[in-house]
């Protein structure tokens, strides 16, 4: 089992260090937090552009990819990290993940070299980098990508769902992709440059390493390559998006679409709102109700009634919301809704078999143990905890799940309050009832 260590570095950054020789590839990750007007989609465009396209030393995607291949790196993937654009505390960061095969090549130094070029140069000399053509191309890429949410019923229904539930929250991104798509094309290079100078590489960063190199070696490499961020921590720049509150009456929305298949997306909040201590019970509820192929919804609505192919729940415990989603023919909407209601009621009334309880525990414990076989998943879990998600460490979580009873799950189900019933009715399968 791992022995992770959180190291505070002299340059005010934090290193998650995991020494392990179990894996053939090493993982190195860096998170560069940025705040300020982060909720503006333009700030994301700036990050996206800088990381994916342009630095002085690696001027194009091709050069970066060539550097990666020469390093025996399986992936060097710069991304915009949406840690918190919706979940948790609103912490927003640019992230670069690197999986490398340590084969004698100086992978760590090479990766840090790439990181340095990508992450830090813009702060110091952004003018020379933001060429108009690249900016426009990046913004158009993002414009198309954001508009793409309307291309399939499963993504369109999510966009519409979130835009309803989060309409009063000025910070969120979800549910606004289609709106932001238009805004992107109004952005110019100087705006992005200004944003980056003020925000990128200013706040203390987070590094994570998972591999066989020693802590001293990793620390030395980081400190010799990466400059010290000179700005304040400014955690208050990361707004709290945590909780979606209960409403007195659920909203009912039915819209039609040009697609064949219909989609249901129902949102439920919990009352009282979820806390860290509720985590084991609510995970069990999610698993039993719709989180697996043996869940009540899958078994009853799909397998027994044959009403759909795709049905399940997704849980965002930090946001106090549980979602039920289903893709089906329009003529089956009424029967499916009835089935969903019945299964929630049965769970709340304690109709939970011993087999369902055992299966949910086994499934969740398996999932938690599987974190130890994946450096990426393990680091994600630990980073969420570090950034404020009130969850216990993996062994404690496994213990809490093992001790959860049918009564705990039923009590959690009784806290469910409907928040939004959203139906996107397609053309196939007759009229919705």
């Amino acid at each position: 089992m791992l022995n992770p260590k959180i190291v505070e570095l002299p340059n005010r950054s934090t290193l998650f260090y995991c020494q392990s020789s179990q894996f053939k590839t090493a993982l190195f990750r860096i998170l560069v937090p940025y705040g300020g007007p982060w909720r503006s989609i333009r700030s994301m465009a700036a990050l996206h552009y800088v990381m994916a396209r342009s630095t002085e030393k690696y001027p194009t995607t091709q050069a970066l990819n060539r550097k990666k291949d020469d390093l025996y790196a399986v992936s060097v993937s710069p991304t915009h990290m949406t840690f918190g654009t919706f979940r948790l505390t609103g912490y927003t960061a640019a992230m670069l993940n690197s999986h490398c095969v340590p084969d004698g090549t100086d992978v760590l130094a090479g990766t840090l070299d790439v990181l340095d070029q990508i992450m830090h140069h813009p702060k110091r000399d952004a003018r020379g980098l933001l060429q108009e053509a690249y900016v426009q191309q990046t913004l158009t890429d993002m414009h198309i990508s954001y508009q793409g949410v309307a291309s399939q019923p499963s993504s369109l229904v999510r966009e519409r769902f979130w835009s309803r539930i989060l309409k009063d929250n000025p910070y969120h991104i979800m549910g606004k992709y289609l709106d932001y798509a238009g805004e992107l094309l109004k952005t110019d290079a100087s705006e992005l440059t200004g944003f980056m100078k003020e925000n990128v590489g200013v706040r203390p960063e987070i590094y994570a390493y998972y591999g066989s190199a020693s802590e001293e070696e990793v620390t030395e490499r980081i400190l010799s390559t990466m400059p010290s961020p000179d700005g304040p921590d400014n955690r208050d720049l990361f707004p709290d998006l945590r909780v979606i509150h209960t409403v007195p009456e659920p909203e009912q929305v039915t819209e039609s679409s040009e697609f064949g298949q219909s989609q249901l997306l129902f949102g439920y909040t919990f009352e009282p709102e979820l806390t860290g201590g509720d985590r084991a019970a609510v995970l069990m509820l999610d698993s039993i109700l719709g989180g697996s192929p043996v869940s009540k919804l899958f078994t009853e609505v799909r397998e027994r009634s044959g009403l759909c192919y795709d049905i399940g729940t997704s849980l965002l415990p930090s946001n106090n919301i549980l979602i039920v989603g289903c893709g089906l023919s329009a003529g089956d909407i009424g029967a499916a809704e009835q089935g969903i209601r019945e299964q929630i009621e049965k769970t709340a009334s304690g109709e939970i078999s011993e087999a369902e309880l055992v299966s949910a525990k086994e499934s969740l414990c398996f999932d938690l143990m599987a974190h130890y076989d994946s450096p990426d998943r393990y680091l994600d879990y630990q980073l969420y905890r570090f950034l404020g998600d009130p969850i216990p460490d993996i062994p404690e979580m496994i213990r809490a799940i093992s001790q959860t009873t049918q009564d705990d799950v039923a009590a959690m189900a009784r806290r469910i309050r409907p928040r939004l019933y959203y139906r996107l009715v397609g053309k196939k399968g007759g009229d919705a009832e």
Partner: protein, 453 residues
């Protein structure tokens, strides 16, 4: 690179086993030819999770077959392989076997491909119990009229979701333009019409003929505390028997696909935000090629394709620099016994120019070959990708089930990649590609006028 191989005997009787090693990456696995015909490959590694993958060499392409020694060709409805996969998770009492896995901490699933169907599970404990469920369910499935009819409703919804995917529609259109006979020109899973003809009798027959142990490979990866080689052999004994069972044997009949293509261009519409170009190249089919040669050539083609179309290729850079595409160029390929296909797609407002540059890239490679530096770099990337596959139990189990050829092992992949030269890339490319056998499909936003073709 493949290390020492040795044969030793099981405790009870002679079973052919070999330990296959690669000291250069410190990996090994055991290859077992079980007397019932099942090939078992086991890698013991210190993961928390254990994984077993059972690969059945029967897929959606196989809609015609001939009984061994007979001439009559029998047909089965399109969608049968996928239907079987769905129904395999139900026992004779109508119980859902996902429950059985879940009660034992197993997380199971399956998927159907054109040439195979794959069943798998992962767990952290009770590996033996989960393996028993997996083997038993594929050995003794149950098909009742009622359950088969109910499953049709579920599969209809699944197929309906594919129809709502515009990118899938464009991909299918590429295949329809290139292929006249092979089933791959349709959506995987059949259609509402074809699955209507699937009956319990049809499923039983197909299962009996194709779900034979000798038509399967079992790949396993897990820690030695859970995965015991002798226990696995005993379980296979119990479920499949200790020797090959007599009975009818069938072989799939793959229609002979003409070398030429059906049409050079077409267009489809969908709710996409911008126009896309899909390019498809029909590879020369060589069904008589030996398995080892085909595997080797497919690995060489991986490198050649990466040189031409990957993120580090000159073509992709050229298209981005000249603002001819948005996002990136995406490529994928198949190089199997039955068919070979390359697809390249991109979001572009200038499809003719992009198509021209793709064709020009292929032409240049065929005439001038590959640069050594380019091949060396893509070789490194390919090797790194294989090595990373050894970092998860699922990845290793999948490799164990996929690479069952004794003369081309999992480790030979690394050896082949390491030895790929520019000359070899050119040789395989020339043997595979006729640059006139291509098609292009334009995926247009709904409402945009149809281009003149």
């Amino acid at each position: 690179m493949s290390g020492q191989k040795k044969t030793f005997s099981s405790s009870a009787r002679k079973i052919r086993k070999k330990v296959i090693r690669d000291p250069s990456i410190d990996e090994s696995y055991i290859r077992i030819e079980h007397p019932c015909g099942l090939l078992i490959q086991i890698s013991q590694k210190p993961f928390q999770t254990c994984c077993a993958t059972l690969r059945v060499l029967f897929g959606e392409m196989h809609t015609q077959y001939r009984l061994k020694g007979r001439n009559t060709v029998h047909s089965i409805p399109r969608g049968t392989a996928h239907f079987l996969e769905h129904k395999m998770f139900e026992d004779e009492n109508g119980n859902d076997l996902f429950n059985a896995f879940a009660e034992n901490g197993g997380d199971a699933n399956a998927y159907t491909g054109w040439e195979e169907t794959t069943y798998y599970f992962s767990c952290v404990s009770r590996f033996r119990e989960n393996l028993r469920i997996l083997l038993s369910m594929v050995a003794t499935p149950s098909f009742t009229e009622e359950s088969v009819e109910r499953e049709k409703g579920i599969i209809r919804e699944e197929l309906s979701s594919y129809l709502d995917d515009p990118w899938n529609a464009a991909f299918v259109s590429v295949k329809r333009n290139l292929y006249r006979k092979l089933n791959i020109r349709f959506d995987l899973g059949g259609s509402e019409r074809t699955i209507r003809h699937i009956t319990p009798a049809c499923l039983k027959r197909v299962h009996r003929l194709f779900y034979r142990p000798s038509n399967m490979v079992l790949g396993i990866c897990g820690n030695p505390g859970q995965v015991n080689v002798e226990e696995v052999i005993r379980l296979v004994d119990e479920v499949f028997g200790t020797e090959r069972t007599p009975g009818e044997y069938a072989e799939p009949v793959i229609p002979k696909e003409p070398a030429d293509i059906l049409r050079k261009a077409s267009a489809v519409r969908g709710p996409v935000p911008a126009p896309y170009l899909y390019f498809g190249l029909k590879y020369t089919s060589r069904p008589s090629m030996s398995r080892e040669k085909r595997l080797r050539d497919s690995l060489v083609m991986d490198i050649a394709e990466d040189c031409l179309f990957s993120g580090s290729s000159d073509l992709q850079n050229d298209l981005l620099e000249n603002r001819l595409i948005q996002g990136t160029l995406n490529d994928s390929s198949v190089f199997s016994k039955a068919y070979g296909l390359l697809t390249v797609s991109a979001c572009t407002g200038q499809p003719e120019e992009v198509l021209h540059r793709i064709l020009d890239t292929v032409k240049k490679a065929l005439e001038e070959g590959f640069e050594a530096e380019e091949v060396a770099r893509n070789r490194k990337a390919a090797i790194a990708s294989v090595i990373q596959s050894f970092d998860t139990s699922e990845g290793v189990a999948e490799m164990m089930a996929k690479y069952g050829n004794p003369r081309c092992t999992v480790f030979d992949m690394l050896r082949v990649y390491a030895g790929v030269t520019p000359e070899e890339c050119l040789r395989v490319l020339k043997g595979t590609v006729d640059r006139n056998r291509y098609t292009s499909v334009r995926l247009l936003p709904s409402g945009e006028p149809q281009p003149e073709s």
